[in-house]
Subunit: 466 residues, 4 copies
């Protein structure tokens, strides 16, 4: 499932002599969270240095020379996946400005739901906006606060915004990491050689050899002054984990299986979703195949629980996304064929279970089912390791409008017919939330039809619900 | 003379179906005014479109495809020469923002002297700054004004800034061109096929075949609504030309000789500066040579007036500025050699007059004199077609600090010794201002030691005077 | 296993109005066979057109405009993996020349063993060489033949070379596909809409929707004239399949599992190698993991046969190969870490079987074992789905010198100690060749220590044996 | 006059520790002789190293890193101007091959007239050709010679070719510089710090500070062994200078005025051509203007001799050639406007003499005359500082076919009418050759209608005469 686009990856470090290089490697490990733009801002305690560009980390930083000007022992970095569809260097992060507090940069993962309203309000008050990023709204709020200390300003600003934000701020004096009180997006903290690290996922720590310390708590703000130790503040008070609404899609799709997010290893949860899916929707079949790579773990879980052998029936071309034929032909089905090919020997004459992580519009699934039948499958049973997506996300996941969400508009039987499967089964919300080992915290399941944890105040967003 | 860096080039058009292409050609003709970055913003009456980048116009717009997204029949463009030394895409113009008045873009030639003070003030009031451009200050002032119409907002903002500004604003509804009440920088108006054009110099009109209508008056604001005719407003009232302080360096160096600026043809004035220089500093010599290309016209004037034959004694390599040897060797003298070579046959055994447009640090002149002597000159007489530069410019010309200006620290005799010439003569201020055909207006000659027409309020700028 | 480098990918088509586009897509599907350079040559029956460059297919052909000049309805293309270590555009293929037969281009997969000797001989006779490719040797032989027809010239030339060659030739009049009499490298033939296609693997046909017709026979030369039907010639006579020596490594590592090569589906053979490996080297363990992606199929086979559950214990970062940190640090171990990360939950506290496709130097295996232990494995049992590599390959596989092949210099027990595994087992040659479904043909197993099927005449190659 | 395209620039050095850097600077100084491609080959006495690319020297060698791999103390370089119209990296020089003599590279300025015939002959004998360069023909001839020493092979080969060649050869053991017996193209020799230098023009020596020693004689071959002194050989015997046929266009247009070629300073000869032109075609006028920059010197000469004041009536935009508008519009007249603009004040109301170096097709002249009239000229008198071009060049100058040469098809009066001038005068052949200071040698004036000094054997070339 690829139509649900990734949210962003962020990384920060303070107290390391090779801060830019550490951040480069951290972004490299988080590349799966965003490929549209990459950027790093560093500080040497006096000035701040930035480099940003469109493309992969390796495009923006093609050689050592690209890192050389990024001096200093503190840095933050960002991999961006556009949720707006407009590719524009202006919106690349981290975002660096000057205001009465001096220079400050920020890297933001998540999406505010009242950004438009705040923006309109601030425009009426005389603010000017250069970008369409939420980060600029936060900076304006900081600038207009009464406070003179950076943590107070951040606290003031963030208490006025609503939505999802895992944020890293960098000034010449300090690095500040904050997670919103709902804890929508992951943010982890690590340590190595006296330096402190922050990242979206722990796989970034594994690469640089940093020790994973812990996840940030809901509404926690960690302030690390240059040369000092981290101090935790709680602008919204201490929020019990049960009141959180962590994005369950981090376990379903976003995070790498080798990461820990929200305190749990992704691979373990994802596998058990496969187990639960097999229990909820058993089927008599010969082989279980996955839609690689994102569904591998869930498919393996399904196979183990059902006893049906797991096999490699689809091969993914990892050079996809870089061919120009796709966007110009706009033949969605051809783009699926560019990305996947079937292994006939695995499929031919078999009753096949295909495990995918989710269905958004249904077009990819339809094409996959067709390809699997062409490869000789006797039956094709589709199993989805997440519940039906019936509502758009407003907290950072790039879902299409409600009218394009197939499950919002068709019954399961109608979806089955549309994709051409012999049977179709989704993981239930209850089944998903009952999974053993899932962190003891609240999760956001709004896209599956439950209540939105944060009120949507934004006109543009309401539009998506039509 | 190359150390006095060019100020910027701006171009605008409204009412032309190929607005982006016209602007591309206009910027191409104005390329001599800035090579650091180029950009174009267009509008189709609803949205605005931008493309900016570092480098020449031909680097930023390498082919038709680069212009294709810039739809609409109104556009503004900008060639930037950094006056700060920092090459940063962030500061490339035109500058496009969103504020309560909607979307607006601006292209600015010139320099404000109270930008820092205003910026500090506005930061205290809660404004955030993304760039170090003066334009951002103007936008903040507009955003905080009480007015709701764009021309009123512009008027409000510009009445609060001090310094040099030839400005083009573009919104989906109109194009606005303004010149500061001192008329520091040129701005001309043209017409073709019902479309209205604005440019720094008329050479941009020549290329696209537009008719030159007139120069903007000091403090004039021309508003051209989409589909409408230009209307002139005078936010500072009508200012007599005698009260203006046009930059005399436009005639000495910046503008192309084939342009009209401030109502006078550049080549005519520049030539007469050569005449006057010959009258003020006659010399018994065999040949007059110029430092090509910027001093050609003045040298020719010197030759004609003095009766000494003009000749081509220095050849300029037009591929200079693009070799990487220069910046790494940091041998200033070698960089002069990369740019110029002597023609021995012209110089050998001769008493040579070298006419240059100005002397800033004196290092280039020193190397040129040495090269001319090596080519066999019996005597080398340096004649400068402008007065001694003894003060930095705060209105857009990138002069170094006062302590680096050779004429601010040495007598003429000391300079002569430093550059190794047999004699040295500068044009006098009086002589320069007495030139026949010079527009009947006031000129700024502050860099030559007269009063600054606009008070310097800026700390950073005061620093330059030390 | 990454140190055994891929050989090349070739693709050809004749009779298709979009020949260049088909070839682009074919090369895209064959990208795994070579990433150093890519190229396409086309013909419209009169002229020939070429475009080549360093990098991926998507780098060399970034957009439709890159294909536009490649007109005509016949084309050949090439993805190159350098076996020499020198990255040079000069050696990129297809290789296009002019000689007495007019214009001709060729794309070559494989390696000649008497190229150096022929080259020295021809140099003595007065030939000049522009490249270090074998293809240039073949062209010289063609040019010096007595024949006047292209197929005769090719036949003449190829009968004089020794070694591995799957070759595609293109002239304005015809496309010729040839496989050497030993059938070292795969070459398949397909059809669609009256056009004829040739490719290294059938996965290229799947992408463009062409029908797989058959593999070329050992020593078969297929001539397809423009507008005509294929005709098969046999320059070396009909050679029985049993006398062939197909590269068994195509099943072990090179080919994509969804391809058919040498008449058998790769995934089926590769899986059964896993079965056989499990039978030969059983172990009491908790989990089987693979080194993704190349060992996935064999690992799955091992798991199925042994009854030990398969799991995903290593995650591969598909952006590897594009970070600049690796080559500069030259810390081999870090480069393994950049490419793979462990999934602790899968490994911790377990007795782990790691299935890899081969061991060359042993350094990657050593680092992987270390990482798996760091992730908590109680025991690490390494199983290799191919026999020990004790001799270099001279037919197109980029193996290092004999002295760098760990299995040529250490006993199995010494290798086990070197890589730090608790046990180590290799597939036996006999076991490998006994696999059910393996094509009824001879295979080359020289790298595993058996007789080289073609005598090595080349000094440089003998050197590798020391 | 720009339609007569430049021939190539070559540079060589042996015995200098920074051979690649010297060559880079030499090519930079010779950039005016060719902008299509640039390349450098070096040797350290064992191996040879090359880098070539399309574009300017600064495009192919953008930074120090591009030179770093070019180690060794001997090098040759080449700036290419395509005479064929096809831009192809394959044909970029220097050209490096391997043959029985080992590795050898060559850089060639000029054009052979029997290359096609030799090529066809050699193809029949079994040679294959990769490029369409003459250099490849020479290498084949060397390879087929009976000799074993490089100078003998070169001698053997060059005695079989006809036409123009100034050639530099480089092997690990020596550098060889040769000029054809007709001495068509310039080639000069210099010295610095014990190293020996060769270049097309002396301006390359001026930049690096090398001493100009002398021009090569007609048919001279200078061999400089590594670590040794130059030795001169004369494969064609000593040829008196009067029997030479140096390209007179080097004085008219190609060479930089600050260079010495064929033993005479270019500026002096070019100026005297202006004198002679003024004597041959006097006119009553107010101002003499040049078509910059190539006609500046001749125009000055005309002005001095005639007593009519010289002035700057046309301004050249040095960024031309890099705008994409020109090639796509194919409006020749617009391309002239992109390159030149008139200075109205110089021209308005005046009787203008325009001095240009030559007329090829007449289209540029026609547009210039029109622009000058639009700028207010009362009369426009065109004076051409060379004779009428009535025949194509076969020795390296990219003239069009005879039918496109306006002077081959129209009388002077018809040309005058076509370009719209009030009068038109060409320098006479006799006048040109009578110029004082012109080297005492024979010159080729075949393009002006005299006998071709070398018989044209080539079909393709004969075609140009139709």
């Amino acid at each position: 499932m690829k139509a649900l686009n990734e949210n962003c990856g962020i990384f920060g470090v303070i107290g390391h002599p090779e801060a830019a290089k550490m951040t480069y490697l951290g972004l490299y490990a988080l590349q799966h969270r965003g490929q549209e733009s990459a950027g790093i801002v560093t500080t040497d305690g006096r000035k701040m240095y930035e480099r940003k560009g469109l493309g992969l980390v390796s495009d923006v930083f093609p050689d050592e020379r690209a890192l050389a000007p990024l001096v200093g022992d503190a840095a933050i970095g960002h991999n961006r996946y556009s949720t707006t569809g407009t590719t524009n260097i202006i919106n690349a992060q981290p975002f660096l400005i000057r205001f009465r507090g001096g220079y400050i940069a920020a890297a933001h993962n998540g999406n505010l739901v009242n950004a438009q309203i705040l923006r309109q309000h601030m425009e009426r008050e005389g603010s000017i906006f250069r970008t369409s990023t939420d980060t600029e709204v936060i900076f304006h709020l900081m600038a207009h606060s009464k406070y003179s200390e950076i943590p107070d300003m951040i606290s003031h600003a963030l208490k006025r915004v609503r939505g999802a934000f895992s944020l890293l701020f960098l000034t010449p004096e300090m690095l500040v990491a904050v997670k919103d009180p709902h804890s929508f997006r992951p943010l982890v903290m690590g340590k190595k050689d006296g330096a402190w690290f922050f990242a979206s996922e722990t796989c970034a720590f594994d690469l640089i050899g940093a020790e994973f310390i812990r996840c940030l708590e809901p509404g926690e703000m960690v302030v690390v002054p240059a040369g000092g130790e981290p101090e935790s503040l709680y602008p919204w008070g201490r929020i019990p984990l049960e009141k959180a609404s962590g994005c369950i899609f981090e376990f379903i799709y976003f995070s790498r299986p080798d990461s820990i997010v929200f305190g749990a290893p992704v691979d373990k949860i994802r596998r058990r979703m496969g187990h639960q899916l097999a229990r909820e929707h058993p089927v008599d079949a010969d082989v279980v195949i996955s839609v690689p790579d994102s569904s591998n773990t869930a498919a393996l879980g399904f196979a183990n629980e059902s006893g049906i052998p797991f096999d490699l029936g689809l091969i993914r071309n990892h050079y996809i996304g870089r061919t120009f034929i796709q966007p110009q032909q706009k033949i969605r089905e051809f783009s699926v064929r560019l990305k996947f090919n079937t292994v006939r020997g695995v499929i031919d004459g078999k009753r096949v279970v295909v495990v995918d992580d989710s269905i958004v519009r249904g077009t990819t699934s339809r094409q996959l089912v067709r390809m699997i039948r062409e490869a000789g499958a006797k039956e094709v049973h589709v199993r989805i390791a997440s519940p039906r997506i019936v509502n758009p996300c407003f907290y950072g996941v790039d879902t299409p409008d409600k009218k394009q969400l197939i499950a919002a508009n068709k019954s399961i039987e109608e979806i089955r017919q549309f994709i051409g499967a012999d049977s179709l089964g989704y993981l239930s919300i209850e089944g998903m939330l009952s999974i053993k080992g899932l962190p003891k915290m609240g999760f956001c399941t709004a896209c599956f039809g439950t209540k939105y944890p944060v009120l949507i105040e934004d006109e543009a967003m309401k539009y998506k619900m039509e």
